[in-house]
C-alpha cells in the first residue's frame, strides 16, 4: 500500500463507497491509481495526453458515465468503477479487441505480460459475438531496432502518444488500414462505446509519420516499452525469449547523467552457455522514459575477466607508484570515494577532464548563489510551463531534459526558448511556442542578458547590471543573437500568457566556457530576479557524483594509471586493459543523477575478476565490499549515511520516485552581485568544431553494445557534409584527427560536431576545456 502524498489542494472523493484523498484537477484514473484503486485502462500513459482510443476506463461519476483518463477530480465526487452497464461495455470492447487477433500467444513475445491477455481474462471474455473480415497487414522493420507486426496491433496509440508527448520525435502516427467498413447493423446491436472504439480501430494502423517505410527518429525504443501487445518489439529480441523466463534486475542506466531507472532482464545465454546474459532492458514506462543508450546499450560487460594474480599485483604496484589517476564519469559513487580516499592518504592526483570544468562551475555557482547545488531536477522541470535551454545540445547531451522540454510544450501548454550555436531542426517541432536562437559561439553571456531583459524583475537587479541592461538599444540583444526581433517581440507576449513556472536548463558548453564566472553570476541573477529554477546537466553518467565526491586536479603528471582511460597502466572494464575491472552492469553501487538523487544499481551479470575495492584493500584500509563505502559518502556535500541495502529501488503507484534518497541542498544568504559586461565582438569565426556525441552514444561502453550503430566521426548537416566529402582531416592547435564525415539530417548550419565517446581518440585533449574550437578542416 502506498501512502498518498498530501499536498496543498487535496480534496475528498469517494470511489466505490470508500473515501479517498486526491489532488484537485488531476485525472480520476491517476487519483485512483495513487490510492491503489484499480480502474482498467489500456491506452492511457501517465505523463502523456489521454487519447481515448480504448475507452475501457469508463466509470460512473455521480450517475454519469465518463472516461477516467480525461475527467478531472472535483471535490465530493462519487465514483463507481463497475456498474452492470459499464461491465457490458467493457466486455464488448475486449471482445472487439479479440476479433481477428492472431491466436499466436504461443509464440508472441508479449505473452505473459500482455495487456490484451490480461484484460481478456480480467473481464472474463469466454466467447466472441463480433466478426469482420481481416485485412492483410505486413510485418515491417522500421529502423535498426524497431520491428512492427501490425497483425498484433490493437491501435491503442500509446506508441504514437509517447513518441509525440514525451520523446518529441513524433516519428510514428496512425495511418489508414484499408479495412472493411463496419456493418451498419452493429451500431444498434452493440454497446455504444464499443462500437465507436471498433469503428476507429478498424480504420487505423500505425506507420512512420514521414510517409516512408522507416522511422526518422532517435531510436529510443520507448514505443516498444509502452506497447501493450507484441506488435512493437526490438528487432534483436523478437522470438528469443519469453517474458516469464527473464529475471529482472533493478538498475540505473550507466550512460547519460539522467540516471534512468531500468531493469536488466537476464536469463542463461543458451543451452551450451549457462552464464546469465542480458536479453533486454525494460523500464517503468509510466514514470520514466529511456533514451536509446539506456535501452539498447546494455551488453558492455567485461566477460573475459579472471582473477589474474600477476596482473593484480602489477595493478597494486602501479597504483603505489602512480602520481596521477585518470578516469571519467562512468564510475560509481563508491569508486569515486575510493579514489578520493586514495588521494587523501597517498597524495595521488585525480585527473578527469570530463568532469573538472563542471566541478569548477558548481563551485562558482555555490559561491555566487549560496546554494550548495542547483535547485531544479527533471521531475520538477516536468511541472514547469516555460522551459529555457542554454549551452547544451539537448538532443545529443541530455535525453531526460529533452523529454522534459518537449513534455512541457505538449502537456503544460508551455513555451520554450532554445539557445544554441548548432542549429537543430527537431526542437522547433516540439511546439508552436518554441523559439530557437542559433547564435554565434561566444555570445553565451548575451543569451543570459537577453533572458534577464525578457524575464527579470528589473527593480531587483543590482544597479550596475540594471544600467548595463538599459544601455542596449531596443531589440539589440535579439538581433545580436540572430533572431527576427520584430516577429519575436510580437510572439513573446503570447508565449508568456498564463506562465508561472520557469526552468532554465544549463548545458555542458557553459562549464568549460572562458567566461564561466560571469555566466554563473547571470544565472544566479536570473534565479533571483526572474524566479527561474535551474537544472544543470552533468556532462555524462555519474559526473555529478564525481564532482561532489572527488577533489579533481587540473592536469595529469608523471606515472598515470588510467581507469577506463589511457594511462601508463590501464584498469579497464572494456577488457582491453592491464587489469580487468567490472563494467557497470556487473557491479553494485550508487549513482548521483541529474535530479540530485542518489540511486542504487545492482549487478546483473557475473564477474570473475578483481574489483577496485580489492586494490584498495591492499593499498589503504578498505572495508570488505564496495557497497560498504556507501554510508561514508561525504555528508557535507549532501549525501546521507545510508547503507546500500537500506535503499529502496521503486516507484509508487502515483509515480513518485522512491529510489535511494535526494541529496540535501543547503542555502546560504548571499547578495546577488553585478555581472560583468561582455564583448560582443569576442566570437569564434571560421570553421568551428563542436564536441558532441550523436544521440545514443555516450562512451566506450555504449559503443561496445551491439545495438548501437552510431559511429565515431564528424557529424554535419546535409549541406555541410556534402561540401566536406567523405572524410575530413581536422587540424586543432595541438593536434589533428582524421575522421569520417557523417550526415545528421537534424543538424543545421555550418558548425560540425566531433564525437568524443572513444577514449582512445583523446578528443578531450584536442579541445581543452571549451567545447568549441576554431580549426582547419581539410578533405581527408
Amino acid at each position: 500500500m502506498s501512502e498518498v502524498q498530501i499536498v496543498d489542494n487535496m480534496v475528498d472523493i469517494t470511489i466505490d463507497g470508500v473515501e479517498y484523498k486526491a489532488k484537485e484537477g488531476e485525472y480520476i484514473l491517476n487519483a485512483a491509481r495513487a490510492n491503489d484503486v484499480f480502474i482498467p485502462a489500456i491506452c492511457y500513459l501517465t505523463r502523456c495526453s489521454p487519447t481515448l482510443a480504448c475507452r475501457i476506463c469508463l466509470v460512473e461519476v455521480d450517475g454519469k458515465q465518463v472516461y477516467a483518463c480525461n475527467s478531472k477530480v472535483k471535490a465530493g465526487m462519487n465514483i463507481t468503477v463497475d456498474t452492470p452497464d459499464i461491465l457490458t461495455e467493457r466486455r464488448a470492447m475486449m471482445e472487439v479487441y479479440d476479433v481477428n487477433h492472431p491466436l499466436q500467444c504461443g509464440v508472441c513475445d508479449q505473452s505473459g505480460e500482455c495487456e490484451l491477455q490480461n484484460y481478456t481474462l480480467e473481464l472474463q471474455v469466454d466467447s466472441q459475438s463480433y466478426s469482420i473480415p481481416d485485412t492483410k497487414r505486413e510485418t515491417a522493420n522500421w529502423s535498426s531496432v524497431l520491428h512492427y507486426d501490425p497483425g498484433l496491433c490493437i491501435v491503442c496509440e500509446r506508441c504514437t502518444t509517447v513518441c509525440k508527448d514525451m520523446i518529441g520525435d513524433a516519428a510514428i502516427t496512425t495511418a489508414k488500414r484499408g479495412g472493411e467498413a463496419l456493418d451498419k447493423s452493429w451500431k444498434d446491436n452493440m454497446p455504444k462505446d464499443a462500437y465507436a472504439m471498433w469503428n476507429k480501430l478498424q480504420k487505423s494502423v500505425i506507420a512512420p509519420s514521414n510517409g516512408t517505410g522507416s522511422t526518422d527518429c532517435s531510436d529510443c525504443g520507448e514505443c516498444i516499452a509502452v506497447c501493450p501487445v507484441g506488435a512493437l518489439v526490438s528487432r534483436d529480441f523478437v522470438y528469443t525469449s519469453n517474458a516469464w523466463d527473464l529475471k529482472r534486475i533493478p538498475a540505473v542506466s550507466a550512460h547519460s547523467s539522467d540516471g534512468f531507472a531500468i531493469y536488466y532482464e537476464t536469463k542463461p545465454a543458451g543451452i551450451e552457455d549457462r552464464t546469465e546474459k542480458i536479453f533486454r532492458v525494460t523500464n517503468e514506462w509510466n514514470f520514466v522514459s529511456l533514451d536509446g543508450a539506456a535501452r539498447f546499450a546494455y551488453d558492455f560487460e567485461n566477460d573475459t575477466a579472471s582473477k589474474d594474480e600477476t596482473a593484480f599485483n602489477a595493478g597494486v604496484e602501479a597504483l603505489t607508484k602512480a602520481e596521477t589517476i585518470r578516469f571519467n564519469s562512468l564510475i560509481s559513487n563508491e569508486e569515486a570515494l575510493m579514489l578520493q580516499t586514495l588521494k587523501e592518504k597517498k597524495g595521488v592526483k585525480l585527473y578527469n577532464p570530463e568532469v573538472r570544468p563542471f566541478q569548477k562551475f558548481l563551485k562558482l555557482y555555490n559561491e555566487a548563489s549560496g546554494a550548495s547545488l542547483y535547485n531544479g531536477s527533471t521531475d520538477t522541470a516536468l511541472k514547469c510551463d516555460f522551459a529555457v535551454s542554454v549551452g547544451g545540445a539537448l538532443r545529443n547531451d541530455s535525453p531526460g531534459l529533452k523529454y522534459a522540454f518537449n513534455n512541457i510544450q505538449k502537456m503544460n501548454k508551455g513555451a520554450g526558448l532554445y539557445f544554441h550555436p548548432v542549429g537543430d531542426k527537431l526542437i522547433p517541432t516540439f511546439g508552436k511556442s518554441v523559439e530557437c536562437f542559433t547564435h554565434k559561439v561566444g555570445l553565451e553571456e548575451a543569451t543570459l542578458y537577453l533572458l534577464l531583459e525578457l524575464f527579470a524583475d528589473k527593480d531587483k537587479l543590482p544597479s550596475d547590471t540594471k544600467e548595463y541592461l538599459a544601455s542596449f538599444g531596443e531589440n539589440e540583444l535579439l538581433e545580436l543573437l540572430g533572431a527576427d526581433a520584430e516577429a519575436f517581440m510580437k510572439a513573446f507576449p503570447k508565449m508568456m500568457k498564463k506562465k508561472e513556472n520557469f526552468v532554465l536548463m544549463v548545458g555542458e558548453d557553459y562549464y568549460g566556457h572562458a567566461k564561466a564566472e560571469n555566466l554563473v553570476k547571470l544565472i544566479v541573477l536570473l534565479e533571483a530576479t526572474a524566479g527561474f529554477q535551474v537544472v544543470m546537466n552533468p556532462p555524462k553518467s555519474n559526473a555529478l557524483g564525481v564532482a561532489l565526491i572527488c577533489e579533481l586536479d587540473d592536469e595529469a603528471t608523471g606515472y598515470t594509471v588510467g581507469y577506463n582511460e589511457n594511462g601508463d597502466f590501464k584498469l579497464s572494464a572494456l577488457g582491453d586493459g592491464d587489469l580487468d575491472m567490472p563494467a557497470m552492469n556487473q557491479q553494485e553501487g550508487t549513482f548521483t543523477t541529474l535530479s540530485k538523487r542518489v540511486v542504487p544499481t545492482n549487478a546483473a551479470l557475473d564477474y570473475n575478476g578483481y574489483v577496485l575495492n580489492d586494490l584498495m584493500a591492499k593499498l589503504i584500509d578498505a572495508p570488505s565490499q564496495t557497497i560498504d563505502w556507501t554510508a561514508y559518502l561525504p555528508q557535507e556535500k549532501g549525501y546521507q549515511a545510508m547503507d546500500f541495502d537500506d535503499m529502496l529501488n521503486t516507484f509508487d503507484n502515483a509515480g513518485q520516485d522512491n529510489r535511494g534518497y535526494l541529496l540535501k541542498v543547503t542555502y546560504d544568504e548571499v547578495e546577488p552581485t553585478d555581472a560583468e559586461k561582455f564583448d560582443k565582438d569576442d566570437v569564434l569565426d571560421g570553421d568551428i568544431v563542436y564536441r558532441a556525441n550523436p544521440p545514443r552514444q555516450f562512451n566506450d561502453f555504449s559503443d561496445k553494445a551491439h545495438q548501437i550503430f552510431e559511429a565515431f566521426g564528424l557529424y554535419a548537416s546535409e549541406e555541410r557534409a556534402k561540401a566536406l566529402g567523405e572524410k575530413a582531416e581536422i587540424l586543432f592547435k595541438n593536434g589533428k584527427i582524421t575522421v569520417d564525415v557523417i550526415v545528421d539530417a537534424k543538424m543545421e548550419g555550418d558548425i560540425v560536431a566531433l564525437s568524443d565517446f572513444k577514449s582512445a581518440e583523446n578528443v578531450y585533449e584536442l579541445f581543452g576545456e571549451s567545447r568549441y574550437q576554431t580549426v582547419t578542416i581539410r578533405k581527408g
Partner: protein, 207 residues
Amino acid sequence: MSLEQFKDRNVGTQNYVKLDLDHSPTTGWCQFKQVVKRTFKPELFVGLWVTFREMINALFRGKMHTTQYPFEKLPISPRYRAIHDMLRLMESGNYRCIGCGLCEKICISDCISMETKYDENQRKEVSEYTINFGRCIFCGYCAEVCPELAIVHGGRYETASEQRASFSLFEDMLTPIDQLNLQQEYAGFGAISPNADENIKSTPLAY
C-alpha cells in the same frame, strides 16, 4: 473434492468378498494327510504335460512365446510415460513445436531448455532444444501443457544409455522424416479429450 473416503478407516465393515477356500489343517495329522494327498495326485503330470506340449509347440511348430529383448520389445500402454518424442505435422512434415516455452516453464525438475529465434520466414524457429534426462522425473507435465501436441511420451522406456546426449537433443526425439507415416497420435497425457468439441464455444466468422 470430498475427503470422506479417506477419513473412513473402519476397514472391517467394508464389502470384502470372501473366497470359498478350504480350511487350513489344524492338527499335525491333518497336515500329514494333506501332504500325502497332494503328493500322489496326478496333477503333477497334468502340469508336466503342459510344459511338454509348449516345448513341442515352440521347438517344432514355431510358436515361441519368448520376447527377444532387447531385439524385441513388447508394446506398452499409451499412458506409460517413457522417453519423450517430438511429433511432426502429418501434412507438411514440419515439426509441431512452436517454441512457446511452456514445457520449459512447467518442468518441475527444470530439465528442459530451449533456444528460439526469428527465422527468415518471419516465424519462431526452435534452434536448440534439449531435455536433461539425468534430471527428468517423467511426470508428464510437458506433454500435458503442450498446446500443439508436439512433445509427447513415446515408447522408449530404457532410461539408461552410454551417453546422456544420445537421446536428449531435438533431432533425436523428433519423428524421423522417413518414418512419418508410422507416426502415431499420442493418446496419453495431454491428448485431446474425446468430448473436446462439446467444451468449446464457436467463434463467428465473417467469411
